[in-house]
């Protein structure tokens, strides 16, 4: 199978965060559960942004801010601003801690809590 994703240019985009109720609810239950990753390791982009850059809902991307990067899942949703990417506020967004990120497709799996905590050690 051809991996068209490989030929995509990097998308540079502003990043903003919001409090997500679903994320808050899994956080309330257990921060070390897989549901926490599912609801936190997300980057949400507007359908127009997704179309312009050939990004698909559910696709894995590497999101970088300077030297730090995370593997996150793309969610395409019109609740994101058209010119910015959106992340639920959590340790994932706080780790990136940047109002500008680059997004590029990846074949790697999502960054887990343990991997993330390791980077703070």
């Amino acid at each position: 199978m051809l991996r068209f994703a490989k030929f995509l240019r990097k998308l540079e985009i502003e990043l903003t965060t919001y409090r997500d109720g679903f994320q808050a609810s899994v956080s309330e239950r257990d921060k070390f559960d897989k549901d926490f990753v599912e609801r936190s390791a997300l980057i949400i982009i507007h359908p127009n942004t997704a179309k312009a850059f050939g990004l698909k809902d559910g696709q894995m991307v590497k999101v970088s801010a300077g030297e730090r990067s995370l593997n996150l899942r793309i969610k395409v949703d019109e609740m994101a601003p058209e010119n910015k990417a959106l992340m639920p506020k959590s340790i994932y967004s706080s780790y990136l801690d940047s109002d500008k990120v680059t997004i590029e497709p990846t074949d790697d799996g999502v960054t887990t809590q343990d991997e993330l905590l390791e980077r703070y050690r």
């Binding site: 409090r19 257990d30 921060k31 070390f32 019109e78 609740m79 959590s90 780790y95 990136l96 801690d97």
Partner: protein
């Protein structure tokens, strides 16, 4: 019926039985249902110990420390917050709850911004501005209690008896609710839009969308701004609220208003890291809120964590002291987002309250 401490709505109508939590939103339901999952244990330097030894170790660390900050306290009762205040006074400690509402709450305490309650909004408010807060996500049941509910003078339902205004930088879930008898303003410039509203209310001319809302504002004596992260000079916000009617600060953090009432200030953790060698975390997890670089510096400090559940910061703590979940496992009082005092009657009795733990630490110092 029990009170949910999942956010500052402090919903008092939650029913529980063995398998079901009724009426609470998803956040509250998980607080109740997940109560016994991932609970913290007393730890000293990562090793399991008993709670008294953990408290003793915390006291030992605090006796040797030269600069202390207390972080969190948003899930703490007023009683626990008062105990933390005593501790802060004893240690000349910094205090921070991570909330950005300090400035506006100060103006409220000074009487510069008139406030109202959730019940009065429901019973009387016609135009309701939800300004820069995606309340559907952060405080999920609030609009059911303020906007969708019928009230004493608002008997005909939201489509006729209310006018909804949502202002945000994006089309949030809350903005998607602005349908009939409603307006959504997408803006990055709050100050400019507030300026337009003030001008129009005072008889000036503004854009058609603003004029439409202002016509609605003039129809009623009781209108309200429910405000989140409004990005405008305080003077302008004060003027705006006075023209519109009333204000309710929508800080989702459960007892954030209690924190501000108890401490009267907040010392931003980001700015004081250099001045401390010990951090006490009560109930919150700074790793969700604080950026990486500052967090790296924090993790070099001595860290004492008082928490009901295993958290990210508890993984890095020198001492972990497990606590009861406020409102579910121990009682006390909290302030709702609108400053109404709510008495918590816990359905379960378990563990040590934060109040008791902080009192023990105070006693040991």
């Amino acid at each position: 019926m029990w009170t949910c401490t999942g956010c500052s709505c402090l919903c008092e109508d939650v029913e529980i039985d063995e398998n079901t939590v009724r009426h609470a939103c998803r956040i509250g339901a998980e607080l109740f249902r997940g109560r016994s999952i991932s609970r913290a244990e007393p730890l000293v330097e990562g090793k399991r110990t008993d709670i008294d030894s953990a408290i003793d170790k915390a006291v030992e660390i605090l006796k040797e420390s030269k600069g202390v900050a207390i972080y969190g306290l948003n899930r703490s009762t007023l009683e626990a917050q008062r105990e933390a205040l005593k501790l802060a006074e004893k240690l000349s400690a910094f205090v921070d709850n991570g909330s950005e509402f300090g400035r506006i709450v100060e103006a409220i305490f000074e009487g510069l911004i008139p406030i109202t309650t959730i019940e009065d909004v429901r019973d009387y408010a016609y135009v309701q501005f939800y300004w820069r807060c995606d309340v559907h996500n952060s405080m999920p049941r609030l609009m059911a209690r303020t906007y969708y509910a019928r009230g004493k003078k608002r008997q005909r339902g939201y489509e006729e008896d209310r006018y909804l205004v949502v202002v945000d930088v994006r089309k949030s879930h809350t903005a998607m609710l602005a349908k009939k008898n409603a307006s959504f303003f997408k803006t990055e410039n709050d100050a400019e839009l507030i300026g337009e509203f003030i001008k129009a209310i005072r008889g000036g001319v503004a854009s058609g969308d603003v004029m439409r809302v202002v016509r609605e504002v003039k129809k009623s004596e009781f209108n309200v701004i429910l405000g989140g992260q409004i990005d405008a000079p305080m003077k302008l916000i004060e003027e705006f609220v006075k023209e519109v009617g009333y204000f309710v600060p929508l800080d989702y953090r459960t007892n954030s208003m209690g924190f501000f009432k108890t401490f009267g200030r907040r010392d931003e953790l980001e700015k004081i890291v250099e001045d401390i060698d010990t951090l006490i975390v009560v109930g919150d997890d700074p790793m969700d809120d604080v950026g990486f670089d500052v967090m790296k510096s924090i993790l070099k400090l001595k860290i004492i964590v008082i928490t009901p559940k295993i958290s990210f910061i508890s993984k890095f703590a020198d001492v972990v002291i497990p606590s009861a979940i406020s409102g579910l496992e121990c009682g006390g009082k909290m302030l709702r987002c609108d400053f109404k005092e709510v008495e918590l009657k816990p359905p379960f009795k378990e563990g040590f309250s934060e109040e008791k733990i902080l009192k023990s630490i105070n006693g040991g110092l």
